[in-house]
């Protein structure tokens, strides 16, 4: 059974600092998705990574995928309060269904 784990589960960071969220998955997959969820809201797609070595950047967020290590990272540069949210990674299992990670609650303090 495919498992998707994120760490940390909770991250409190100061504005202006850099940090990385890690997403590990347990079986072979060459697709990795990052979503953002604000409190009381639905999921917003951030990045779709479709191959080994893929790197995508949007503003202060950069996501990468290493399929051999079964690892994706979401790097935050010079955090701002607006980035406070829960971030989920997800990948596809054997039946091609989207399986979500545990989520990382990010709180950026002024």
């Amino acid at each position: 059974e495919l498992k998707v784990e994120q760490n940390p589960l909770f991250l409190s960071m100061q504005e202006g600092k850099n940090y990385t969220i890690y997403c590990n998955y347990s079986t072979t997959s060459d697709r990795l998705y990052w979503y953002r969820q604000d409190p009381g809201k639905s999921l917003e797609s951030l990045f779709v990574l479709l191959s080994n070595g893929a790197v995508k950047q949007e503003g202060r967020l950069m996501a990468s995928l290493d399929t051999k290590a079964r690892l994706s990272t979401l790097h935050i540069t010079a955090a701002v309060h607006d980035l406070s949210a829960t971030y989920f990674c997800a990948t596809r299992g054997a039946t091609n269904k989207l399986i979500f990670g545990t989520g990382t609650l990010l709180a950026v303090q002024p």
């Binding site: 998705y33 809201k41 797609s45 989920f88 269904k97 989207l98 545990t102 989520g103």
Partner: protein, 115 residues
């Protein structure tokens, strides 16, 4: 992208009753999914809503508890039957449009509280 609406947006229900959640998409899609997100938790796939055939349920979810309809390519319903407080969750509809992108899109969710 895909614009997805869900009704109701939230509801408070008594145990033992049933609630039907509607999901409407602004364009035809092949794949529609229903997810549950319990408070403070990640998303769990309930089932895939197939047009013209029965839904495909994931382990731990059964048709008697979560009957699903998919009458056409833009609409689906999920019923939460014989509710108990453990059913209090956010229920999310999701669609895929591979012809547009690999991204799976999510509706705004239905927040259900069972007393």
């Amino acid at each position: 992208s895909a614009v997805i609406s869900q009704k109701p947006s939230r509801d408070i229900c008594q145990r033992g009753t049933s609630l039907t959640i509607q999901c409407q998409v602004d364009s035809q899609v092949t794949m529609m999914f229903w997810y549950r997100q319990q408070p403070g938790q990640s998303l769990t796939l309930i089932a895939t809503a197939n047009q013209g055939s029965e839904a495909t349920y994931e382990s731990g979810f059964v048709i008697d508890k979560f009957p699903i309809s998919r009458p056409n390519l833009t609409f689906s319903t999920l019923t939460v039957s014989n509710m108990s407080p453990e059913d209090s969750s956010i229920y999310l509809c999701s669609v895929e449009r591979f012809e547009v992108s690999e991204t799976q899109y999510f509706g705004p969710g239905t927040r259900l509280l069972v007393l």
